[in-house]
């Protein structure tokens, strides 16, 4: 049986842990609201861009199309961009993304493809352990407090430059889709070459649109922007997912700490009671012996 002193120390230590997890949960909840708002605010732009892409889709294409759209004609070197958070203690958030990325990588390797990784976010660095020779780059994101479009742009520009240099043929982006505060889903999407949205039936019948300068130049400007927007959206979803996941994890931790405090308190009281009883018995039997 643990001594009273030891139990007391233990209870206090669990109590202070609980204080920390409770505070972290509260902070995550506050940040979640902001992150969710940011994710929602980003939606109109992405939707409109998609609509414009769709209306352009049928007009351009064929031989003269940009490599960002048509691809390199190969699919040998596959790049996996893994977007994770900078901090841990968010439940299974980061490991889910990394696991999804690893599964994809194993699948591609089994097909005989060359897989490379592009890490965006500190917690993706665990991939070094599994694929030490396949890390193409590690994009530093540590300084970012709230994700701005420029941060996504920086990643996109870097990716496009590498793509045009021929470092890879196809790029996939892995992140966590924010479904609700309780549910986050790891997701993988193809970002390069840009998957063209299906041409909607309505655009065919619409009035003739005049383009300035011309369709190709507009599309050429649109494609890198589309990639940046995809990455931006992924980063925003990630930010919201991270906070949601952390909120849950910390909620559970707080509850577990509470249970543990209850259990330890009962044990502490029992031990104390036992000590008092023993002491009384000693006094009484001592008095009787006289």
């Amino acid at each position: 049986m643990a001594s009273l002193k030891a139990l007391k120390v233990r209870i206090n230590s669990v109590k202070s842990t609980q204080k920390i997890t409770k505070a972290m949960k509260m902070v995550a909840a506050a940040k979640l609201r902001r992150a969710q708002e940011a994710a929602q605010n980003g939606r109109p732009y992405a939707e409109r861009l998609e609509a414009v892409m769709a209306s352009l889709a049928g007009r351009v294409g064929g031989v003269g199309a940009s490599p960002l759209l048509a691809g390199t004609g190969k699919d040998q070197v596959q790049l996996i961009v893994v977007a994770t958070s900078e901090r841990g203690l968010a439940g299974a958030f980061n490991s889910n993304i990394v696991r999804a990325a690893r599964r994809k990588a194993d699948e591609l390797i089994a097909q005989g493809k060359t897989v490379k990784f592009y890490i965006a976010g500190k917690k993706g660095r665990v991939l070094r352990r599994f694929f030490p020779d396949a890390i193409l780059a590690d994009h530093e994101m540590g300084h970012i407090k709230t994700v701005a479009f420029d941060d996504a742009r920086a990643v996109a520009d870097d990716l496009i430059a590498r793509f045009l240099k021929g470092e890879f043929d196809v790029a996939h982006l892995f992140y966590s889709k924010f479904v609700s505060a309780l549910v986050q889903e790891p997701m993988g999407i193809q970002i390069i070459p840009v998957p063209m949205p299906a041409k909607t039936a309505a655009t065919g019948a619409a009035a003739v649109v005049e383009y300035e300068p011309d369709e190709e130049s507009i599309l050429a400007e649109l494609l890198p922007r589309n990639i940046a927007v995809q990455i931006f959206r992924a980063l925003l979803e990630n930010a919201a997912s991270e906070q949601g996941s952390r909120m849950n994890a910390m909620d559970n931790a707080t509850r577990n700490a509470g249970d543990m405090i209850n259990r330890l308190s009962i044990q502490y009281n029992r031990t104390r009671q036992a000590a008092i009883t023993t002491e009384l018995v000693e006094i009484i039997s001592g008095a009787e012996a006289l």
Partner: protein, 84 residues
């Protein structure tokens, strides 16, 4: 008849309102959009968007950077990378 004008950046939907006329800095020169403009799409250069709420009213400048403008039967939509 007012023109429906929307200004969107990746970060948020900045404006969605009925205005009289908007002057957009297009890559190949400025152009102004009134209600009933023919469908049109243009990339934009960094510059100022001039929004006139009423005919003859003072134009309100909005600095924008990078993006493009689309005119459809629904009105004018400006997708800019930065705006303030």
């Amino acid at each position: 008849m007012p023109l429906h004008f929307e200004l969107v950046t990746p970060e948020k939907l900045l404006r969605s309102e009925e205005v009289h006329m908007v002057t957009v800095p297009g890559t190949e020169g400025d152009f102004a959009v009134l209600e009933g403009h023919a469908p049109f799409m243009s990339t934009i250069r960094d510059g100022q968007l001039l929004v006139q709420r009423t005919a003859g009213g003072a134009p309100e400048p909005i600095a924008i950077r990078g993006g493009f403008a689309e005119v459809s039967d629904k009105g004018l939509t400006v997708l800019a990378e930065h705006a303030d």
